[in-house]
């Protein structure tokens, strides 16, 4: 290849300068959100715009890919806020320097300490519990106790699990590792695997499989059951809060942080503060059946009927730190 002729190259560059969008011209009154969460937040976003006049521009994507895009765009990124699911993902973004510290008394007050980054780079907004579901007609709730006990031989052939590649399972294992250490968790997961679980790659389908009798117990995020029960009140599957006598039920979050190179940083902070306010939290909870992170908001009545439970109060950031270890552990014991 010959080197590009100098003159045309310069001409092309000039053209780019002339027609290219100039930096710093973005209209005021806007906040740009890179979002890996695509459900249940629209109402809260609209309410924010109505209240503040600040427009919310959303760019949807997968966490892993949004992360790469944010990284590649560097200081030129248009993104002000990264909104994603799973604490591990938030931890990873913070570790890579994609999020910036936000010192907001309001956020500190609204979001409990276990649901946000100790260094204030991200804040949990909604809470999802990953716990045990069972067939009402074939399992007595007294037979159930902990995640660990699902390795008991009595569940052989009766267990439905999601594959280990699924991020919520990885986070569950990661927090268990933080609680018990790797050797103990490895033993637990070996127990699960020895019970020859049916692997199904959708929480909804796991619940349906329990309902249809393919298995008797499963491990899912609570809101998937809520969606099914909302459609069919007499749904034959019930929820069991795992580890109530011990460490508490594993919870994860969806959450957000302000990007390191936000162009509308003030708006972004305002946006997060609003999303953590009781008003917005109520909108989240009403639509998505998740638990609000802010204890001042009330839980969706359908979910509230399932009663209060003790949540594992380990900081959800543990999910990120130990996620790679959890993935490797699953590989070692042959949990697909």
């Amino acid at each position: 290849m010959r080197p590009l002729p100098t003159l045309p190259a310069i001409a092309a560059a000039m053209l780019l300068v002339v027609v290219g969008p100039a930096a710093g011209q973005a209209p005021a009154g806007e906040v740009v959100v890179y979002s890996a969460r695509h459900y249940g937040q629209e109402a809260a976003f609209e309410a924010f715009t109505k209240k503040t006049g600040i427009r919310v521009n959303i760019f949807n994507g997968n966490t892993g890919e949004l992360f790469e895009r944010l990284k590649a765009e560097g200081d030129k990124t248009p993104a002000d806020v990264l909104l994603t699911v799973d604490a591990g993902n938030l931890w990873n973004a913070a570790r890579a320097g994609l999020l910036s510290r936000v010192d907001s008394p309001e956020l500190q007050a609204n979001v409990p300490a276990s649901l946000r980054d100790p260094e204030s780079r991200w804040f949990g907004l909604t809470v999802r519990a990953r716990t045990i579901v069972y067939a009402k007609d074939r399992v007595k709730p007294t037979e159930l106790s902990t995640y660990e006990a699902l390795g008991d031989p009595k569940w052989k052939g009766r267990l439905c699990l999601r594959t280990s590649g699924y991020i919520y399972n990885q986070s569950l294992l990661a927090t268990l590792i933080r609680r018990h250490g790797e050797p103990r968790v490895e033993e637990v997961v070996r127990g699960w695997v020895a019970n020859q679980p049916t692997l199904i790659n959708s929480d909804t389908k796991i619940i349906e499989a329990v309902a249809a009798g393919q298995c008797d117990v499963g491990l899912v995020n609570h809101y998937y059951l809520a969606r099914l029960v909302a459609k069919t009140p007499a749904y034959p599957v019930a929820i069991h809060w795992a580890n109530q006598q011990t460490t508490g039920t594993h919870v994860n979050v969806s959450g957000a942080g302000v990007t390191a190179h936000a162009k509308h940083r003030a708006n972004a902070i305002k946006f997060l503060e609003y999303l953590s306010s009781p008003e917005a939290q109520q909108l989240f909870a009403d639509v998505s059946f998740e638990y609000p992170a802010n204890p001042q908001a009330s839980v969706n009545p359908l979910v509230a009927k399932w009663g209060k439970y003790k949540a594992d109060d380990i900081n959800v950031a543990a999910a990120g730190e130990l996620q790679a270890a959890a993935t490797r552990l699953a590989d070692r014991v042959g949990y697909r």
Binding site: A23, G24, H38, Y39, A212
Partner: protein, 580 residues
């Protein structure tokens, strides 16, 4: 990938050899070099080997992943080969009830994203699905669990057979009536004529289509993860998302490139030493044998069965979910989304076809040489998962934006935002890299069948290379070109991972809409955009069928099939050479 030449070098007049690098080879080299960047970016990830991740994979699962991947690719290859070729031969050589409808409709499964078909299959056939539930409750049988590998292989065969079908169908049509009639007149039954004449002559096309299907199987992530089947591509994402290690994941993806290379070499050896020159004198189209009565109905039922499983079932399942949940819903801005999708797909199809044509033609003019290597290299990109190749594009583009354009902007005192990153140009570039192999395979398969004597004749009459291409080759390439356009159009229209990562801010396409819903398990909401992809896919499919029908319409004069092997290695068709 293919034989170096369509014409033996010794048949060429010396003046034919383009001695200084021609415009074509320079253009081809530049195009290929640009398109190679993302693949090189993937390969360069090996510069910092993630030793601990490899060690971990080696100890725990690498062997299993490789075996699973090879098994799946082999099964999908065999399945699509048999299904695609059989269907193509049936619609070309026979007449049976509904043939005309089937001929077009059998392409349709290509328009549905594979993972959507996979999910619909699971929804229908799983334990909790309607079929198994019905059998359980009425007959009392508990159906055995289908191993996930079998499920994936069946679904992929049903989704990817149209590659083979499209290319084989074009090849059978191009052979024309005389080929078959000659064989028949020499006492071959229609069946034997198929195995001894039509099939061997269509080999470049069939093999090209099959290798496309196999590369898709290598690259697929959506379907295998729906079924929970572990392949290398799935392993790539597991390392990327599960261990937060994108570099190690990319390194794992280079293994896919190795398999792709193996496939391309296999394809080349399968094409064999044979040359597939086919006389282009126009003759009448294939005379179809009428299949009447039970046989005709059986064939029609077979076609309907394939179509039912691969197309009607998923479409019906999606619609059912949507209706059960309050009807088809479209979001505001649906028309803009539809328009984006069509414009992007159309542009990508055209751009890819033009670039593939330049590459294929440069290779014809200067076989051997660098052109062959680079086109082979660039084609391997098809075996990479979409988001891996997208990152391979994103990183260099962002680098240019920051280091070159950004600095130039600073020089003239006007700081610039990102110009390439997240631009339509970047997105189109990704489509071209991703789908060049499709376009190229299709064109190349048609191009090798054009005898070099035509080139020589045109040249001896004073036509320049460009003129020869325009007036001699392009008309003959028509079906290959249309096939390339249709496949790339439909592929782009359902492309998700690269679009998701590289699209400009605010640009949404139909597959993005599908994904936004399915990623949250909101399958009933996904029905409307998914069905829209299918509906929009119908347009180019039927257009192409009409256009190719016209070019395969009534022809005049006899057509001569010739197939020459290397001296001393007579092929089975040697008897039919120059039958005049």
């Amino acid at each position: 990938m293919s034989q170096p030449a369509t014409v033996r070098p010794d048949e060429r007049p010396a003046v034919w050899m383009p001695s200084p690098p021609s415009v074509w080879s320079v253009a081809a080299t530049v195009i290929a070099a640009l398109l190679a960047v993302p693949i090189l970016a993937v390969i360069f990830s090996l510069a910092h080997p993630a030793a601990d991740v490899w060690q971990h994979l080696w100890r725990t699962q690498l062997a299993g992943l490789i075996i699973n991947t090879l098994g799946l690719v082999a099964a999908v290859g065999a399945g699509t080969l048999v299904l695609g070729t059989t269907l193509a031969w049936l619609v070309v050589a026979y007449d049976f009830p509904g043939r005309r409808v089937f001929e077009a409709a059998l392409i349709l499964p290509l328009a549905i994203p594979a993972y959507v078909i996979g999910f619909a299959f699971l929804g229908t056939f799983e334990f909790a699905g309607p079929l198994a539930t019905w059998i359980r409750t009425t007959i009392g049988w508990r159906l055995p669990d289908v191993p996930s590998g079998v499920g994936v292989a069946v679904v992929m065969t049903l989704v990817f057979y149209p590659y083979v079908y499209l290319l084989a169908r074009a090849a059978f049509h191009e052979q024309g009536a005389a080929t078959l009639e000659t064989a028949r007149s020499l006492g071959r039954s229609r069946r034997r004529a198929f195995f001894e004449v039509a099939l061997p002559m269509a080999r470049p096309s069939i093999v090209a289509g099959t290798s496309l299907a196999m590369m898709e199987a290598l690259a697929d992530f959506g379907t295998v993860s729906t079924f929970g089947y572990r392949t290398l591509a799935e392993g790539v994402y597991r390392v990327w998302y599960g261990m937060f290690d994108r570099v190690a994941a990319t390194q794992l993806a280079t293994l896919l490139l190795f398999f792709a290379l193996g496939l391309l070499l296999l394809e080349r050896s399968l094409r064999g030493r044979a040359r597939f020159v086919q006389s282009q004198r126009r003759g009448p189209g294939v005379t179809r044998a009428r299949l009447s009565g039970a046989r005709g109905l059986a064939v029609a039922a077979g076609c309907a069965g394939v179509l039912g499983l691969a197309f009607v079932l998923p479409a019906a399942q999606l619609t059912t979910w949507a209706l059960a949940d309050g009807g088809l819903r479209v979001r505001t801005g649906f028309i803009a989304t539809l328009r984006n999708t069509l414009v992007l797909a159309g542009t990508a199809a055209l751009a890819t076809a033009v670039l593939a044509l330049v590459l294929a033609y440069a290779r014809r003019l200067a076989p051997g040489g660098a052109a062959r290597f680079v086109t082979q290299f660039v084609s391997m990109g098809y075996a990479l998962p979409g988001s891996v190749i997208a990152v391979g594009i994103l990183v260099p583009m962002a680098w240019i934006d920051h280091e070159i354009i950004g600095r130039l902007g600073a020089l003239v005192g006007r700081p610039l935002d990102l110009v390439l990153t997240g631009s339509v140009v970047g997105l189109l570039f990704a489509y071209v890299v991703r789908f060049l192999a499709v376009s190229f395979q299709s064109l190349e398969a048609s191009l090798v069948k054009i005898p070099g004597s035509l080139d020589d004749a045109a040249r001896s009459l004073g036509a320049k290379i460009g003129t020869t291409l325009r007036r001699v080759h392009l008309p003959l390439l028509r079906s290959g070109l249309l096939t390339a356009l249709v496949i790339v159009f439909v592929e782009t229209m359902k492309e998700m991972p690269a679009t998701l990562l590289l699209r400009p801010f605010g640009v949404t396409t139909l597959p993005i809409e599908v994904w936004e819903r399915t990623s949250e398990s909101l399958w009933s909401d996904a029905a409307a955009p998914a069905l829209a992809i299918v509906a929009a896919g119908l347009i180019p499919v039927f257009l192409a069928i009409r256009l190719t029908d016209r070019s395969w319409g009534p022809r005049h004069g006899p057509q001569t099939p010739t197939r020459s092997d290397r001296p001393g290695k007579p092929g089975p068709l040697l008897d039919y050479r120059r039958p005049e």
